[in-house]
Symmetry: D3
Subunit: 281 residues, 6 copies
Amino acid sequence: MLSKNIETFLGCENEYEESKIVIFGAPFDSTTSYRPGTRFASKAMRSESFGIETYSPYQDKDLEDITVFDGGDLELSFGNPEKALTQIEEFTALVLEDDKIPCMIGGEHLVTLGAVRAAAKKYPDLHVIQFDAHADLRDDYLGESLSHASVIHRVWDILGDGRIYQFGIRSGDRSEFQWGKDHVYTNKFNFDGLNEIVEKLKGKPIYLTIDLDVLDPSVFPGTGTPEAGGVSFLELLQAMLDVSELNIIACDVNELSPIYDQSGVSTAVACKVLRELILML
Amino acid sequence: MLSKNIETFLGCENEYEESKIVIFGAPFDSTTSYRPGTRFASKAMRSESFGIETYSPYQDKDLEDITVFDGGDLELSFGNPEKALTQIEEFTALVLEDDKIPCMIGGEHLVTLGAVRAAAKKYPDLHVIQFDAHADLRDDYLGESLSHASVIHRVWDILGDGRIYQFGIRSGDRSEFQWGKDHVYTNKFNFDGLNEIVEKLKGKPIYLTIDLDVLDPSVFPGTGTPEAGGVSFLELLQAMLDVSELNIIACDVNELSPIYDQSGVSTAVACKVLRELILML
Amino acid sequence: MLSKNIETFLGCENEYEESKIVIFGAPFDSTTSYRPGTRFASKAMRSESFGIETYSPYQDKDLEDITVFDGGDLELSFGNPEKALTQIEEFTALVLEDDKIPCMIGGEHLVTLGAVRAAAKKYPDLHVIQFDAHADLRDDYLGESLSHASVIHRVWDILGDGRIYQFGIRSGDRSEFQWGKDHVYTNKFNFDGLNEIVEKLKGKPIYLTIDLDVLDPSVFPGTGTPEAGGVSFLELLQAMLDVSELNIIACDVNELSPIYDQSGVSTAVACKVLRELILML
Amino acid sequence: MLSKNIETFLGCENEYEESKIVIFGAPFDSTTSYRPGTRFASKAMRSESFGIETYSPYQDKDLEDITVFDGGDLELSFGNPEKALTQIEEFTALVLEDDKIPCMIGGEHLVTLGAVRAAAKKYPDLHVIQFDAHADLRDDYLGESLSHASVIHRVWDILGDGRIYQFGIRSGDRSEFQWGKDHVYTNKFNFDGLNEIVEKLKGKPIYLTIDLDVLDPSVFPGTGTPEAGGVSFLELLQAMLDVSELNIIACDVNELSPIYDQSGVSTAVACKVLRELILML
Amino acid sequence: MLSKNIETFLGCENEYEESKIVIFGAPFDSTTSYRPGTRFASKAMRSESFGIETYSPYQDKDLEDITVFDGGDLELSFGNPEKALTQIEEFTALVLEDDKIPCMIGGEHLVTLGAVRAAAKKYPDLHVIQFDAHADLRDDYLGESLSHASVIHRVWDILGDGRIYQFGIRSGDRSEFQWGKDHVYTNKFNFDGLNEIVEKLKGKPIYLTIDLDVLDPSVFPGTGTPEAGGVSFLELLQAMLDVSELNIIACDVNELSPIYDQSGVSTAVACKVLRELILML
Amino acid sequence: MLSKNIETFLGCENEYEESKIVIFGAPFDSTTSYRPGTRFASKAMRSESFGIETYSPYQDKDLEDITVFDGGDLELSFGNPEKALTQIEEFTALVLEDDKIPCMIGGEHLVTLGAVRAAAKKYPDLHVIQFDAHADLRDDYLGESLSHASVIHRVWDILGDGRIYQFGIRSGDRSEFQWGKDHVYTNKFNFDGLNEIVEKLKGKPIYLTIDLDVLDPSVFPGTGTPEAGGVSFLELLQAMLDVSELNIIACDVNELSPIYDQSGVSTAVACKVLRELILML
């Protein structure tokens, strides 16, 4: 009590130097076109993580056995996407330089672009695996090229064809799906085919981005754009365990919007996803 | 901006004359016996429909490719069921006369009676397919014969035996189920047997009424009388696609109560059901 | 109207003397470590039970055919767990003495200890079946031995090894699971193996405790500590029907927290679980 | 605990025969044109009344010192205003015949008409004092003459000119105010002039109807049609004390809609108004 | 019903050409630094305005007697403040050119800048009256010069000293208040001194901007940054009537955030402020 | 970002050694008899304090000009009031020994007892000023002597007659008020007489306890037991400034329950009260 009040995600209380994994928040949602509020996700997850346990009966592992540093939240400018992305890129680069795994908590999905920029610089052969309800492949949204709805198109600008693998996609406009056919791997609705992709990507550096709205809205109502027909928590957990065999060099979870999570179940499930993600890295 | 503000359900912006489908709201809930509020469903669905896309990856169809007119809401008298039903009947008759498909957004389930009255006049051989958690087969409710809980009994008054097919039913009093055995086809809990019924009804004029509480409350909490043990969104979607082979001459979706939908997932799923319904007609 | 206002759980309107089953509320949540509020469960369930029917299409039975007395709520001291447990124990003992089945509505899970104390006195060979998300096997929580998180350990203090059977467990600290291996039967995540246990326990006196958070948070968000990855309503219902072949001499349902149930679906599902439980006894 | 569970408004636990005051609920809201939900007011008030004390420091009186019977709620037909009004009239007449003071909890404001019908039969010289935000003087609403928006016009049909005194009115259409000028006494916005009216009405039989939306929405958000610019709790309390010098032979409080009262402050203030009302009778 | 569904603010159903006043929504909140959501204000106000009357008993005027056009909402780019401001400026200029009074519904307070840009071009002698809880005088916020927190500083960039009059201010950092002393007129906490200012500004072209958070949070909880200690609805209404003697050539109401308005009272009060504002123009 | 994530109340970022004031949370609510949840107050206040400014225009002072240490929350045992009080007493004693002013954030009002125990040991002549809606003078509540409803009686056990001054009291049972007449100074409903008391207590060591429910529920809905008829924010602020002339050696603010504060206005006003309290010490 006589040292300052430190608040971290559950069990992530190590010093930076000793940690293998670095979690941090990117509280940005300025391009959200429908219901904003993901800026509050990282704070809510830290606060509510104490409702779950450090031990996972799924993996039989405990957060207390591994070293994780929680750096708190980046202070990002609202209303200036390019500047926010630069701040994210710089922090991610710092962590990657120290050979640690950055694990970012969004924010809207656009924040992934900042982290991928840094990761692609260090790992030119970077591949991206995306779990998401939305394709996010537009070239622009109402004229803006930096948008949550175009983030994976922007990632493709960096990585090019054959580097992006999408699962769970169940929403997009027709042109997104058409463009996607030529440039990215898209598995609609669920995780079918994931094992083959994992087999194929073994040894490659992987950026894993989990848009939590891949979950069914019954499981995860607290998000800006709920899309019926999603996967269950156990399906997502299994998919995460499947990709854990790969060389994940950075990752993020995003699109929790606590404002729309009156019962708290969405924040609780986001915390559990993050716990399992950290434990599997 | 210099023309008046028009608000329609997503992508339903055609003129009446050019449209094949006519959607309209019937904001009535005066006989609701438990938790009222379905009067706000059509407004909420119009407003929130912009959170989903016009394109359906399930059907590979787009609302922009078909012609739909949104006539707004009927102005119905609260506290006077007979008068409200007459207003619904008259409007539905108008649409049917013009050889368009009326697609009504309830309101409580009683509104179906108004539309069925009109449809049965035009199509004496009308059959009704009902997706619902509740049998709605009482002869009266607290002495009222016009009630959400007796609406299908009233429909039977018009159509008689062998014309009504219920699926997903998981609530009712004992006498409803007993009476139903002699007069309607009831498949409890799920959509088992739907394919046989579809086969049997091919060519007949069909009124399809979807009480959204057929969905599990986890998927669709925003309704007056949530009943655990319902179907998933994908099960409902498949059932809808199954009946789409039939000659659906009118339809409705009902019992969304936005008041109880704090996270917005119920309205979002209702919008998606309506999108898929319109696309399959 | 000229007699006082009596409020009971749906259809449980018999006099004490004529009843086989006695339901009562134990509105206590003082040791809840995360989000309190289960003290309001029994009141909410009585009030909202009128949104469901007395007839169960699952069991084809009706609450009106059996005799149940609703004794209302015990008046328990907040902040004094030992005293509250004694009050619960005394009332349960009274009901058991009269050869009726006590069916308690929690409250936090600790209330089970009071009822088990009474049941174990009358039935020395008592066995406990627990449906729960949490192991509840800690020896203490922050130094307190009487805690919702240690209630089954306290039950074990009374019954000893081989008497406790847990299903659905998906949360606990590592030491709980380790201790549990030597002292209780634990089936993680679901109801696998329940039929074998039922076979084995035939004829034994059984106390059945249902912590409703065994349900997935999508089905049952209104609880203090939601844990993703739970069972569905139909899975829980089937498990209940499976154990209904046993000699259940007392039971409880607990951990509904209406504060976190803004849409009311959790209270509705709790009412349905209680209806099915009463009908199967 | 071995007698059935009785739930009354706080401290109103006397038998009918021994009581001077009879409270009862009229859970009806079928003509509500905007946001329904007042049907739940009486249940919520009984349940939440235990959050306040029986003792009033304002009047230095205690509910335990007087005799009040709580008859529970009338079972009213939804969707049939005339029938519901008849049920209310009959019960009110019964209470009046026994020389007790009926004190009704609405429900929408239309319920007042049922009680006034009974009161005017017993007391031909009946006068009505109305505290309300809305004039409620329309002749009909969307063609319905029995409506919450026309209830005081209907009361005037019975009583005629010079018998109705409105205070706090701040909403109505222009024609209501114009019609009102010739037929009722209306003091807009506040309670100015109440003392003169009290002086004038001394000795007359008075029906006091308190539409709780006379309170400012900051104090009482939980109502169907909140109107900014209302009175404070202490202003309402003073006005009630002012009229307590009159011969109040029946009264009601109405228009609490617990659905819109997420924090519970509206139900709490309604309970306090009812406590003070009972104590002053 | 056979023409498309038109939705306007209550009673604002005139054509553009015939109207004296033009209302439109500016649904932008990308620079909001704390709780976003004002983008939904104009839609919510149109939808909920039907809960109030067209007639004002305060002014004895009726919306049906004047001509108002509701142009709906501008479609603004999220995440690009400069572009959004340009869109607002262009539309406002169009309305001003036609000698109509633009009346904008925000959005965050930054939207005022777009409208002031247009107004200052037409009226070089423009003066601004601001009712607000926050000074909004920062030069930048986290480095961004276009921010809701710096909007009045940006307005000063255009108008210069002696043109801006603030009332109700009760929040800001110290430097804002210090800078303000030299450049704008600031009356803290309430409307003291407003009459003198009105006297002084007679005949000048006035832009009136009402940040609704000038109201006390008890009256208006539904806003991003509630500040205790604000004015009452009646105080705001009186202040509005006071300035109505001036030559108001454009105005706005802003900062309603319906997400935080669970009971709906904030939207209702915003509607009433807008009704009174339109009636007084 | 490379040091651990520190979260303090707005602007309270000094080290312990250099600070004059020490704030800390006492998240305990086990004896709350009605609606629990105050355990979450201190966390919510830290998190939401960033919605207000460090500068107070009321006092023209800034949190950045003074030294305050935020020690985070005590880890208190739920369900064991005596142990929790001991923990609070020990921490408070530590702070007092270092000649700093402890400023505790409750929790239910019982936590005051722990701090007063420590303060009375150091300052035998301690006097207590209490701003509160409730008298809290019961000798016990349902048999428990350690209860939020008896906390001031317990304080009297330590301090004796003539040492306790209550303001704003508007709820209690009759016996509390009667007992209080002989033992404490009670001013009902408001702050009348505060100036005389301040004059009388000059020079004495004062413990100031602010139960935030002294505020009207319109201003402060987020509390367990809202009591209509309370004071406004500005009245409370003035009362605080009045007592700031005294020698306040310790203080607390308590009874914020964020669960019931859906709009966030209660937490915001609590933050502002705490800011003003710290600035005036």
